[in-house]
Symmetry: D2
Subunit: 325 residues, 4 copies
């Protein structure tokens, strides 16, 4: 009765989705897994020998493979008529991402991209009130996304760079909450020189100018050290929404040294509901034929903004976006 | 592969457990339901025509029927060799509760009682550090349990009274965190006179003296109005553990009137993990044959403490408990 | 133009008042000091050789000597026609306290007693809203007063015991916020056996029943260890006021171990405004001839409640108060 | 015995200082005031008919007149040998500011400029730990300064513009906490078109690149609406210092709508200690002949940074600063 999801890829995000589908989701279940590594067998569901077999054994697919395969598998799924949930980014190559979006549109299958914040209860509640006008006119958008510890440099090489890998989440949130972005100015630094060796950075500040005239600012870091942080503030002329709750647990330990509360270590601990909710929402789209809340178009625009940020960082210039009339 | 739970009763707590078993639990699944009301069919699992049939179709049972049937169904399950998760209280009649505990012991089946706080991550973390000695000697235990709005008086009639229905959760938490209780002094008030008509109260303060010499204090209310509250503090000679996080969501709405954060409305919103975790823990006991973290004995002692509180409230005297050597 | 205060006693509280009068108060200034110890000279104001001389050189007196002299000096000041601010308690002997109150009444001079919480902006704001009816009917009063570290045992001997020395502040706050108290039940423990040697305790829980029917609970400790705590909650049928802000400073230090915020060490750090405000308020009474916000009568009733708590602790019985019609 | 301050100017900041000097400061007192408006008489201290007379009647001066007179009065005071506390900015004209700084240096009198955050206990504590190396290498500086409601446009005309009037405080804090700034990129918006009419803005985001390689970001607004905000975060490789405590009072009002805590309305409510502490610190410099913690040089550099921000905003380009070797 619930939607059977075929899961491709059992890396970190694949395992997050597997857990959601096996405990958490009420609208979807894990129907089958496909991964080059036979350890996939541990999940106690059928193991497909190929992506084609996976498509045969599910109602819809969730793609969490390495990025390089995202677009191709999305196209393949679309051609089989299966709705697609795909981790971001669709592709590091714009043409491939466009092709994937177009394939889904041509086949008439839903395509949802993994911007989980769109499904977290805090952001959902803020968005609902902002979109209802309770905040008035947006004046300033501010958000911080910071990892606790930097990833392995080997991962970085295939990530598409800092802005495509990390900032893209904030860029999507910015558009969602405050509307289209007119220009991007990005500043980066490699506090840890290891990042410079990969021609990459570990710290960035990105300034946005929205079409509405409002300003936005994003700060990102690969190594906040104290924990994982994802906090957002939207300041309007009537009110300000602020999500700034980095403590996943309510226990405070008090001693002579002060009151201590722990931080979330990573996105899984910070977003206990969002990863479940995004798959349940996807399952409802599959079941009811309704469009997803975050689409292939959203993914393309977020990627374009990340590319603009990259260009701005490299050139030291503000990059304007063409905003469709 | 996961443990198949037969769920008896689909009232409020039954529905909480059904949701956990259908989305949340990773060690247990909903195998079958039994309820006098055929609406049970909505859960998409087999519907048993009798409790006996339920027992046949599951690995273990979760009993969430009205209280009057708890003990008898527990005995019946034990005699069928099925492990039992039973909502509190086992019975309003001490002898029946004892009989249920003894039936499970005789049959060698696990009996776990629904004190969910024992499975909430905050309380679990506090207990672990307290039991490891990090807090030193306990000096003071303080806890608040408050409902947002009072229940329907019709419910009250069968609840066993304020202390058995409400305070019992705090009494169990007190023993778990601070050891056995030597005496109880209870004070009650019916702020809303409707409660006095049922010879009951809606507000209470209960003072505990632990065998260790420490003091404890519980405050309870049926109608905090602002929201549901469950907060606990244990003050030791080295440190103090404090769990006081009534806001389930991290969104703060700022305007001229101040910063506003919402409260949990009820225990479901306050304890997003505990109800899932208690059933997963029960499933592990069933699978591995290990004893539950909260036993029938714990349930009996908590009920005895609630009875002592009731007696103290009625007599205006401190009631001492016999503590086994 | 501001009121010249003669300060008697330069122990801990005397020094707090001296600082307020020399930097903080805008309605009062330090006119003269009197203390057996000539170190008083450090304050850069005239030093009186006797209390009589002090009276000659000021508009009003603040008495912060050891308790034993409070009542006698109050009488002496009243007889000289000087308004009196006196640290609590007026006396450990009820008759002396009554005599002091009566002397001030007979002389027509203002007598204000040092319950500083009545002048702290948080409590003042809460009281104003409670008294205006915004909270509805009071259901529950709860307060914690805890020192960081225990005082020297030598101090204890002259303190009048735990309830007279410590709980009395909470008893006054209870009456102020919630009205008269009908009965008191007190429980105490000497977690540190050194207190038992003085026939005293270091930890207490006191339950109040207000004339209104509401319940109240106070917890007190000589050694919270993590810091000084003074937190109060009043739960009403319409709203709940909660003052629970133990961190005097806004700096949070974040690292891998969590977010750390420091506690107030003592009442001076916890109440940066109250000690100044109480003397400014007293000065306004002196200048304008208006009655003080906290009177000798308030002090007597608070002392009676502390005596009732002491009796309850010793007898194990609830002690009822005679409440004037 | 305390330092007698002659106060010039009784506008908003002048009145803040007058209050500090009459109640708050322990090292300084208000000796005399000078203001074109005879209402100055209300402060109960001698009123000087001219700035020259003020200089005669004080140990040191505090200048809080309209900006246009700051530099000239500073020079006049220096030539009279009187130490100067001057509100920021020294002048809107760089040459005049330099002349004022040089006059003080030539006369050998202390010059302290009114960057109050340098004296707030939270920032002082953070700075001490950062400068001691506890935070490791600074990675990111982030700060928000926002007024609740915009000032009167008439004020704006003489303010030197947004960056000189508002951002300058954050620029000084940035240098103090993280070292010299290498470049500035500023973005501005006039959300309220009234600001555009004055060729000014009401919202800004300024990105800093420190000489150390770290990034910094400042957001500023004339109209946060919910309250006054001044929050700062410094993220290092070992720890992160965060000052984000916009609630001046500890009272939380709980009702069905959620928990409400009030914001500070303005800088006076947000900084109850800093304005007193900066004058006490100045008085100690006067008395002991030690250099001030924030100097004329600091004021010049902060003004240069504000000018760079203004230029960056106007040109859309990053502006580099010459940093002395």
């Amino acid at each position: 009765m619930t939607v059977g999801i075929g899961l491709a890829g059992l890396g970190r995000m694949g395992r997050v989705h597997a857990r959601s589908l096996r405990g958490g989701c009420t609208e979807a279940h894990l129907a089958c897994v496909y991964d080059a590594d036979p350890a996939a067998a541990e999940f106690g569901v059928p193991w497909a020998a190929s992506f084609a077999e996976l498509l045969d054994r599910c109602d819809a697919v969730a793609i969490a493979t390495p990025t390089a395969a995202h677009a191709e598998l999305t196209v393949q799924a679309a051609e089989s008529g299966k709705p697609v949930f795909c981790e971001k980014p669709l592709s590091l190559v714009r043409e491939s991402a466009v092709a994937a979006v177009e394939a889904c549109a041509a086949a008439g299958v839903a395509l949802q991209v993994g911007f989980h914040r769109r499904f977290d209860p805090d952001w959902v509640a803020a968005a609902a009130r902002i979109h209802a006008g309770e905040l008035g006119q947006v004046q300033l958008f501010r958000t911080s996304l910071r990892d606790m510890d930097p990833p392995d440099p080997a991962f970085l090489a295939g990530s598409g760079g800092f802005f495509a890998d990390m900032t893209v989440h904030d860029l999507d949130a910015a558009r969602w909450l405050c509307g289209e972005v007119a220009s991007v100015t990005a500043h980066g630094a490699a506090i840890d020189p290891a990042f410079a060796e990969y021609d990459d950075i570990d710290t960035a500040v990105v300034v946005l100018r929205f079409v509405s005239g409002a300003l936005g600012v994003i700060d990102n870091s690969r190594s906040a050290r104290y924990g994982y942080e994802c906090s957002t503030e939207v300041m309007g002329t009537l009110a300000t929404a602020r999500i700034d709750a980095p403590h996943p647990r309510g226990l405070e330990w008090r001693s002579r040294g002060g009151a201590v509360r722990g931080f979330a270590r990573d996105f899984e601990e910070r977003f206990p509901f969002a990863y479940v909710a995004e798959l349940d929402a996807f399952a409802r789209c599959v079941r009811d034929g309704t469009p997803p809340r975050v689409t292939g178009h959203d993914a393309l625009v977020a990627s374009d903004l990340a590319a603009a940020a990259t260009e701005s960082w490299r050139t030291g210039r503000t990059v304007s976006l063409e905003v469709p009339a």
